[in-house]
Symmetry: D5
Subunit: 147 residues, 10 copies
């Protein structure tokens, strides 16, 4: 699967303008991670959000059509990512996946954590022994329906 | 890869005793997720911890030898898990992996979030529109070394 | 992935008793497909439902422990199933997957059909040119959250 | 496998004209899903249907040659789709595949549901707790021949 | 996928009795290939056929229960078979698959050759330059339905 | 693997001329399937055959160089084809592969059906219940050599 | 795929008797490589050869039934073998495969080297700089048939 | 992996000049197979050899830079090649791999046949029953080191 | 995954200038392997380092933007590399991976060797029996955290 | 691929005796890594070495037969290992593989580092900021032969 077709254009404009994801997020009224997801074609903007973003990046407003459309989601080329930063998330799922399933089901019952009614935030926690990356997943619990 | 060879024994004893991961964690002085990881063969106990756990579960203390050894880690049989609860974590990596990489590198520089100097906690947040599962990853940032 | 460990026992008892999924469903107050999913380890019964089922099948009530637990879901050994009946469902996803995505998003917006808040029913429609299998998926639409 | 070579052109024209699949379907006398399948290169039009469609979309009638030809079917790049909406159909096959096989064979005998003598429709059912997506597969039962 | 669980028993009995597939086919009133498919768990017998076969092979009539059930079909362990005789059928599909598709669609229209309403026969044609294996596939043409 | 580089050109010319594989085969003195294989880059023409074909299709005779060369054979992009017509040939190998091996070895001994000293023909057999596709494989039996 | 079921028995008996493949080959009147192929279930003996081999190895003559049968050929568990000695043969095919194809087709025309009407011999050539392994493949050229 | 970037240019020039691998080999003082490997980017020429080859083929001497460089070796796109001529080499490894390992280790000890200190030659042996392709691998035996 | 987009440009310039990795490393104050990693898009330069490198290679300073960015790491197209030099590193992991894990855990405890706080150096050790390649991995030991 | 059949027995005996790889190595006159490789079935002992090892571990001397035989090498079940310690070696090959190839070929010419005429040692280097694991590969350079 190819990356979203205008990701390169958006990233280059962001680099040129020297804007951070935090700044873009503040301007759009959304979290920095959601805005990054938008640039990587994993989220869908309203017409207003798209135009505001394109304005900030000094890009042609016609691109709004693509930012408001529904792309094929899933932005990694490989089932097991080779990039070390990305791989660690795969490793966490491999090592801690079954323990998480056990704990979630013990506390919530039969169901899943939604990845749709879901937010993902990232914080930097300073620490003299080395700063820490704190990633928080917050998803609605969806119980299995019986019929 | 087969599951840790005594996981089934440990889980059956836990069920029989009616103990939760939270209770086991409190008794061992560790988080419920770490204890679940221990039962699934993804973490290594000290001799004391192993014996305390086996005592709580009324199991033969000789099993401590296995709980204190170094198993092959990675507890999922399949690269892409078919279980819906587990799959959602794979989906999050697919959909939000590159946006997370972009944000982490913008804020921390070239490096990764460690999955070794790392903790994982799970909280249940009650919500009238449906309770929420909150999963927190907390890993040390490791910058790439130059040489 | 191995099948649910007591599926073979449940199926043999069902065959011996000469009971159909429809009959089992009526007795449990659930649809025949949900009951079949229970026998294949893809759904979770309450203690009552489990005991009622085991009673009907003349099986040891101790098995209720397994019917009320949370198995690893996903019951096919192969990513692309070789069984012709099962394969046709894979083919439908291959051929009609993108058209369905286009129609669902046009009518509902950015989101998915839930496979958790979901029911699946099967009807036999007699037809002189050959009876027809009618399978109905009914899932809640879940819109993507922005944050 | 690449998408049908003129899908992008057809979708852009449809977006520009502001036409829905329902409107295109009404104009062609076919269901909205079948029309979507045609745009994604998974179905084959007659010369008349092709020209009517191209007329509505204001496109060159020479493209009719491609709409009336037999493309390689199967429109997903990946065996297991990463797009969350598409993945749910894969998950349904994984979780409910064997239960469906059990029910269909119990009620119809040895054979399959055809994916060729087959229709697929999608309805939106409004519901105060969240609208529901209802997808119906209707395929002829084909019994295995003995010889 | 494991072979049909009683294939080994059936084959050993057949070898002991010194019976050929042609002889078994004549006794059951079916083609030798269909009978071979039955022994390999790819077809389903009636109770009468199953008992007749088991009688010929001097086996316990209780096995009829398995011969009349619906096994998971698809008898090869590997996607690309390594056995040279089997591989040649994969090679034919690789080399002549698209040409066959082109010819079938040119002569029949949009649709497929059924593999369900289908027979497969094998003949030995003697030839001084080396005998020839003649395999004939005979399947109903199924045209795609429009809706 | 990409398709033979001039397949698209040959097919477009054939469509424009309105010629069928049967007509091309008659003109070249070969079967329609062999001619289709030539157009898909799976067979090799003599200089005469190549020029005759190019003449019929009104194409540049310089292309004869490619039609007389030895391409990499195997024209499917995917190990398991997603196109339904092509998939049925994979399904037949999965379901009837071992039964065919059993019958061929019982009648011919240890060896294989050649896919090189081999012909493949396709006939349309009209039938009021639906026309039938009859595909015939005719390959020399090659016994294993001992040394 | 599992190894031929009696390979372990045959190898243990050979080791116990202290016999080499060369000695077994001389006794049976076949090459040492063919005899090794027989022990690994890749070739088929006559009743006489099977009994002679079993006699030499002091094994039950009833095993002749398996040595004279037709096993599923292909003795490696993995598509790309991890054993270094075996891998080198894969590497040779990767590195020199296309050059070999080019030379064989230039000298023989369109066709293949048979792997059935084929012998494989291994010689040890002493060399002061290090002994050399010389492996010779000798297969009949099979030209593609036109029809 | 793409083919060596100038293979197509080299092959076209060779075809135009009507030169065989044997003639090119004689001119360069190397075997025809080694020269074919050079054209397919699997071997590395000296500056002299590269210029001599380019001269014979009437090509720009600047290409010598690429012929003297170190390409990524391994010229097949697919793990299991679909081309029938290439596949037979994979089949030989599958069927005769373990027997070869057994014979080589019995005669040489623990180690491998080098694929680097290695030559590969091809001869055509005329035979009234069909010419034979004789391929000879000649590699240094490398014993495992202990430390 | 494609190679870093300017690797070809950097390598061509390096070849033209006749500079070695050792020379580039000396000029930048880094090891030759780290510099090679930079050219292959696997490491990230400071603005100064990037400009110094581009100056040495006589390239446009605007490329510094790419050398200072964070590329997707992982430079091999294939999970199991076909290039013989690269494959040997995969083979070492296959053959000596578990023994290394056993020794490292025995001496260090539960944890890993970091591949981030890590250096890799290569030395050439002359030896009359054949020069030796000595590769040294030096990574910080990271112990698993308990929580 | 299964682990060497007596690895579990050897490891259990080693644990019971409380012996380290260093102690076993000293007793056998080999490096600790080579001894670990022997226990994991990746190396081959002489009869003397095998008996000495079995004596130290108090095991039946009949097992010497297996320690002196030639096992199938390659001890990992998965192409990409999920165990984090093992994965890091895969990651190093992915990230630094091409840079290593570039440096080795620049300094040695066209060829490879042998993984057969090869030693692997591991040292623990104490460091106040965290101990370091130092792994050294030392393999003979093998230049490609021309012929």
């Amino acid at each position: 699967m190819a990356l979203f077709e205008i990701t390169d254009i958006l990233l280059a404009a962001k680099r040129e303008k020297g804007l951070t994801y935090t700044q873009l997020g503040a301007a759009l009224g959304h979290d920095k991670v959601w805005v990054a997801a938008l640039l990587y074609g994993q989220a869908r903007a309203t017409q207003d959000e798209a135009e505001k973003l394109l304005g900030l990046l000094n890009l042609d407003l016609e691109l709004a059509e693509l930012l408001t459309d529904y792309p094929l989601k899933g932005s990694l080329d490989e089932t097991v990512p080779t990039d070390p930063l990305l791989y660690r998330f795969f490793e966490i799922m491999q090592v801690y996946g079954l323990p998480m399933k056990a704990v979630i089901q013990e506390e919530f019952g039969d169901g899943i954590m939604s990845a749709i009614d879901f937010t993902l935030t990232i914080a930097k926690v300073e620490d003299p022994k080395g700063d820490r990356v704190v990633v928080t997943y917050d998803g609605k619990f969806l119980p299995y329906k019986k019929w």
